[in-house]
């Protein structure tokens, strides 16, 4: 709390306490009692050392003990502790300010791709390594399960391919058997199931989504619309019971599914360049109005990733454009070789406070647009500005200034 706010709070507290005393006190003509209500004073300024471990006995209360006299050994030790505390606060405040200032060079919707290391290839299957074990059971250390999952969210007629393979610790393929495979809805607590279980074709025979027969990789296709879940919105779960040399194992894979169609992509990408940057517009026929979250990867002419451009705003129904900007200063700072390529567009309708919380639009994988050739020097080198940035820099600078003053005051 700022000193001004603290002073105001103290005044208000005193006023309230006085008013309460007056209210609870004798009315006119009634006899007064001998007792008096005193307003609580402002709390002593906290100066606690940062404790590494807290126990019941050592947990500090919200108020602190009275400091020692300034020139006493205790007072000097307290001053050193306060100095260390404020030095830490200054370091934190400076890091907060520096971080925000760095971030706010560019707008939120146009970011360097280096900030998004796991968003560069959004449509690659998710690979994981798992133990071969049953829930609550132990796992043999000499084998490992390798799994892939094509996607976590799906809508409409989209499907998700799941693969499972077993390897030795040294990476040698090992035989693995699926003893049971089932796809079922995850029924919310208190509800009753609205769909029937489905038994998928879990195989390594080149069928039903299996890429290559006999390679030791077992594939299962989760395709809600074709497996009886076309009217279900929620989690569709694939459960696998596995076995290798007598060792059982269990895995499950979740696909959050919505049968709805939120919007339909319209062809083409429109491009508008100005000193502020390049805006790419992707168009859709929106059926369900609401907040749409859209992102695209921007590569240079060689395919080197440059930026993540995004859109996050509410739109109405009908034909709409989602603006995906590449900010001018970002172009100046990264100097990508032109033309730019717009790649791998991912989009969904966000449904706040609901589950499923999104309706995916079909993935637009690969290069969707190649820009015109623009001279990098034609773009502005100016940083992003806005009310939010001013608000943050003002507040965070105030914190740095206050901590600086305290460090100077307490310093030798």
């Amino acid at each position: 709390m700022s000193p001004r706010a603290a002073a105001t709070a103290a005044v208000v507290a005193v006023a309230l306490a006085a008013a309460l005393g007056w209210w609870l006190g004798p009315a006119e003509g009634e006899p007064a009692t001998a007792s008096a209500t005193s307003a609580p004073g402002p709390a002593l300024m906290a100066w606690p050392p940062v404790t590494a471990r807290a126990t019941t006995a050592s947990l500090p209360a919200a108020s602190a003990p009275r400091p020692g006299a300034p020139l006493s050994p205790l007072g000097k030790a307290e001053r050193r502790a306060q100095l260390a505390l404020w030095q830490g606060r200054l370091e934190r405040a400076q890091a907060t300010l520096d971080g925000y200032r760095t971030s706010a060079q560019y707008p939120h919707e146009s970011r360097p791709i280096e900030e998004h290391p796991d968003q560069v290839r959004p449509f690659e299957p998710i690979s994981e390594e798992r133990a071969l074990r049953m829930p609550g059971g132990t796992a043999p250390q000499d084998v490992k399960l390798l799994t892939t999952q094509e996607r976590v969210f799906a809508s409409g007629t989209e499907s998700s391919r799941v693969t499972v393979a077993l390897q030795s610790a040294q990476g040698r393929p090992l035989p693995l058997r699926v003893t049971r495979a089932v796809i079922r809805e995850v029924t919310p607590p208190g509800a009753t199931a609205s769909t029937a279980e489905f038994t998928p074709d879990a195989n390594d025979a080149g069928r039903a989504g299996d890429a290559r027969a006999g390679d030791g990789v077992i594939s299962v296709l989760v395709h809600p619309a074709a497996q009886g879940f076309g009217g279900f919105a929620g989690t569709v779960r694939l459960e696998l019971l596995l076995e290798h040399a007598g060792q059982p194992g269990f895995l499950y894979f979740d696909l959050v599914y919505s049968p709805e169609t939120a919007a339909v992509w319209l062809p083409g990408v429109r491009e508008v360049a100005s000193p502020a940057g390049i805006d790419f517009f992707v168009k859709a026929m929106v059926r369900l109005p609401g907040r749409y979250v859209v992102s695209a990867r921007i590569d240079d002419v060689q395919g080197e990733p440059v930026a993540l451009a995004s859109f996050n705003a509410e739109v109405g129904a009908g034909e709409q454009e989602f603006r995906l900007p590449v900010f001018g200063k970002l172009l100046r700072d990264t100097s990508p070789a032109m033309p730019l390529k717009v790649r791998d567009i991912e989009a969904f309708l966000l449904k706040p406070d609901r589950f499923p919380d999104r309706v995916m639009l079909p993935r637009r994988a690969g290069v969707q647009h190649t820009s015109r050739v623009h001279a990098i020097a034609s773009f502005s080198n100016a940083e992003w500005e806005g009310e939010e940035k001013t608000r943050y820099l003002t507040e965070l600078t105030k914190d740095v200034d206050e901590a600086t003053r305290e460090v100077q005051r307490l310093g030798p």
């Binding site: 709390m1 505390l85 798992r130 589950f355």
Partner: protein, 295 residues
């Protein structure tokens, strides 16, 4: 009659005083719990999920309780309500998130952090919602930084393997693939996430890869990016890549999510995941930092 007039006057004084307080810039410390809940959602003075309420856990501390059972998406509205209450207009917030609370604040910032928010008076009703202040709006919330204790932003293998009840809605969100796909973890709107990673885990070491606090592994509590988990350890373990301090990429090259910095790595394996209703475990480290720096 005299009592009635005094009551009316007191109400007027109190209303004026509250309005005066509401108009002042005030900092708040918001604590967001994890799986299991413990406090009553909407009651920001209920500290049962954490420990004694008298403990110093940052300036003007508020317990942003949610049930710790249902989906992040269906419970996140309560988190956003609290952010609207305390982190708009002239007021600013420090956030402390624990375990699945990491997903809550990450989800709010990534998906709603640039949305227009109505400025509120920081006096919530019993549902944890606040009235509008001047009718104005602002972009996003006023948040200085986020401390994360035992963060489950990257999920937990205990959810993957069926060790937790797989019928529980939140467990689905805590699967490593689901947690990491739930939102873009790099999008914090420029706020630092300071990660506190405990390593005193033994019971599930054969399930949780690398170092763990018995519920989450370092890949999650250390904010390691990617679509799946991986092994990360303390430097003393030569058979496993190090989780590095700060923002640097980890040994082996795997990056952290942007704006995520490992503030504490449990080199001595002293801190587990459990608060034990006494601000214990890795929560204790974050509480100490909130006491020192959230002011």
């Amino acid at each position: 009659m005299a009592l009635i007039s005094r009551t009316t006057a007191l109400v007027a004084i109190a209303a004026t005083a509250l309005l005066a307080l509401a108009a002042q810039a005030t900092n708040y410390s918001l604590w967001i719990n994890g799986r299991g809940g413990g406090g009553t959602p909407g009651n920001h003075a209920d500290w049962r999920a954490w420990g004694p309420a008298t403990v110093n856990a940052g300036v003007n501390k508020k317990a942003v309780n949610w049930d710790g059972f249902n989906r992040i998406s269906t419970t996140n509205g309560g988190i956003r309500d609290a952010l609207d209450c305390y982190c708009t207009g002239p007021n600013w917030c420090y956030i402390a998130a624990y375990s699945a609370g990491n997903l809550q604040i990450g989800y709010a910032l990534s998906l709603f952090g640039t949305s227009q928010r109505l400025k509120k008076n920081p006096t919530p009703n019993s549902a944890g919602q606040c009235s509008n202040s001047d009718g104005g709006t602002q972009t996003g919330w006023n948040i200085k930084w986020v401390n994360v204790a035992g963060g489950a932003g990257g999920g937990s293998e205990l959810a993957d393997a069926g060790d937790w009840a797989i019928s529980e809605p939140l467990v689905s969100d805590l699967k490593t693939t689901s947690a990491r796909a739930l939102y873009n973890h790099n999008t914090t709107t420029g706020k630092w996430f300071y990660m506190y990673a405990g390593a005193k885990g033994t019971l599930y070491s054969f399930v949780l890869p690398g170092q763990d606090d018995e519920v989450v592994a370092y890949h999650s509590s250390g904010g390691v990016s990617g679509s799946s988990g991986a092994n990360f350890c303390n430097p003393a373990d030569w058979l496993c890549n190090d989780l590095t301090l700060g923002t640097a990429a980890n040994q082996g090259g795997r990056a952290k999510w942007s704006w995520h910095s490992v503030q504490f790595r449990d080199n001595n394996e002293q801190f587990d995941h459990y608060a034990r209703n006494n601000w214990a475990g890795i929560v204790g480290r974050v509480r100490a930092d909130m006491e020192a720096n959230a002011r």
